[in-house]
Amino acid sequence: MSGAERKRILLLGIGNLLWADEGFGVRVIEYLQKHYRFPDQVQVVDGGTQGVYLIEHVQNAEVLVVFDAVDYGLAPGTLKRVENADVPNFLGAKKMSLHQTGFQEVLAMAQMLGAYPESLLLIGVQPEELEDYGGSLRPSVKAQIQPAIELALAYLADCGVTAEPLATEVELADPILNIGRYETERPDADSACRLGDERVVRSAAFEVRPPQPLTDALPIDVDYRGKY
């Protein structure tokens, strides 16, 4: 465990914050940056919709924790963790990000280059709403930010790393997309259409499917009802 304390750890949030619950990973990172201080060996990165440009971060990490909206086919707002070899299988099935270079491909490329994290954890939430352009997280998904962080902190504790919670929230270096301002300064629905393309967003390929039990799923039971 002594060597483990110096392991390079990357906490990475991916997704597009302009598409409602799709911004989950990025918002987890924002929350982490505002409320926790980590030792130098931990990097906390908002990966946005970047693909190939994230390779370096992935290659440099010995432990990688990814936060994302993941279509598990579970009930909206369900949090689920997946580890190591299973991660690529859950990622990138519908690659719509950077040049369609989904994050799965980033992992494959890192592997081809011969530098790959020893441990991988994906903390994903089942989205409730995606077709709300310019919108923010739905309450069911927003309520999973803190539980997702708890999962990550427990995982880090196993690696011998502790995060220090901050007594007061720190201001981000670039507060423009701060979730509070993003939500309050949003134009109303009359002046700004909020729907996506029906053919894409509502087609079977992109549908958020109704809950179906997954045989290998390990749903995490977090009760967020009544909090919002």
Binding site: H99, M109, M112, L130, A173, D174
Partner: protein, 598 residues
Amino acid sequence: MTVTATPNGFHLNDAGRRVVVDPVTRIEGHMRCEVNIDEENIIRNAVSSGTMWRGLEVILKGRDPRDAWAFVQRICGVCTGTHALTSVRAVEDALKIKIPENANSIRNIMQLSLQAHDHLVHFYHLHALDWVNPVNALKADPVAVSALQQQISPSNPKSSPGYFRDTQNRLKKFVESGQLGPFKNGYWSNPAYLLPPEADLLAVTHYLEALDFQKDIMKIRTIFGGKDPHPNWLVGGVPCAINIDGVGAVGAVNMERLNLISSIIDRTITFIDQVYIPDLLAIAQFYKGWLYGGGLAGASMLSYGDIPDKANDYSAANLLMPRGAIINGDLSKVHAVDLTDPKQIQEFVPHSWYKYADEAVGLHPWDGVTEPNYKIGAKTKGDRTHIQELDESAKYSWIKAPRWNGHAMEVGPLARYVIGYAQGNKEITEQINFVLKTLDVPVSALFSTLGRTAARGLEAQWAAGKMRYFMDKLMSNIKSGDLATANVERWDPDTWPSSVKGVGFTEAPRGALGHWLKIEDTKIANYQCVVPTTWNGSPRDEQGNIGAFEASLMNTKVERPEEPVEILRTLHSFDPCLACSTHVMSPDGQELTRVKVR
């Protein structure tokens, strides 16, 4: 009778079998393409459709114009910096803000580094697989690859047989693990692939090398932008202070950082000269008989220009990346381009899923309207949520149809290079002549898919050289004592007029990009982006002119319609970017391109 002649010179015939490619992969965002092929598998009608609503403009309404760059850089994962730069330029134009020389040099270095970076990643990681067959590379003899490497790039030290054998073994392991990764979904037995195994292995080796190298180029933007992967920008300059004596200063760029940038620039120049350009020429040798894909190239091309030599002067004479328009194939005349002229740039929507009060007229972006209106034509096969075949006689795309003085135009590296060539730009002409001579092809060969791919490589080389120029300029300015990087005189909204408008432009890696905005009472009243893929991916207009993607596919022979590698090859040569993006992921089933032949 099903043959229609378009005003821009194409003969469309929709009688043959329809081939539908949806989505087109290895691009940014969502795109669908439909073509009709005749009995000899030659494309006689082409329809390109943006299948994603991109209403970024409307979510900016009412927001602080100084914030707009942060939103536009989230449109997609690649054009981040170039959208942000365009946005701050638009706000500065509206508010008459002058930026310091250092800010101009730093912005140019960031923009040029994006050009070099994006072109490199496009060539090796998005486009190469349209020409290179990684499965075939397993058959190569590493000794012969080594000889080939030494022949095409004698100065490249990484050329031993062992080096290529090593890559081949890694590739083999990867293929045998059944996990093809980025190489899956290819048509690897298609006769459209023409390279010998040795050239395939050479290119695959450099695919990996480029993947490793591109990480370095990115550091330039990280240092100047203060963070990675979404650098910071600032209306009035750049958000990085310069403190040359500083040691590890937070937020300031010191000498150590400047030296790091300088060394990355040198390595970028070397990589492009020793690897990218020789590979491009080697691959082109085998494909120079495949001269499909011209379309509007050489006929109708447009560039706004970019890279101002001196700060705050956006006139054509001060832009190092050429500005102008070519129409009707007349290279003897390059027309002047004015982004503020309401007659020159107009967007039309008769075939786009938007609503205008009068759709017979086009709107200049300052007066632009982005109101969605999704309805499908009577001849559509399928229904609103599951279209099997588009009806191109009605509305069929989320992309508007921008026109320059009424002409459909191609934008991008090839447009910039042809315009520079037509203007007699010395550097560009020398580069083009070198390629034409090496490949032994006439100028007309440029007007093709391969020409587009070649121009991108040449431009990467040019951009790397210009980074060196601006780095030297920045250093000499700093040494003379000028450390200013931002002008905040007009930062306070109280100093702004109540109603102003402005336009900002750049040449994004994939073509001309403009943002037009109006500011009223210190808030954004209207914001319109006309992006490169709006030009290239444009649907038909009121007169029936087809757009650049559509035109480029015309008359191409497709060897196997169910494996339309030729269509992908030509569309990829534009480096399409149909911004972006919901990327919710599913554990089951890969999203494969569906190709349907009816």
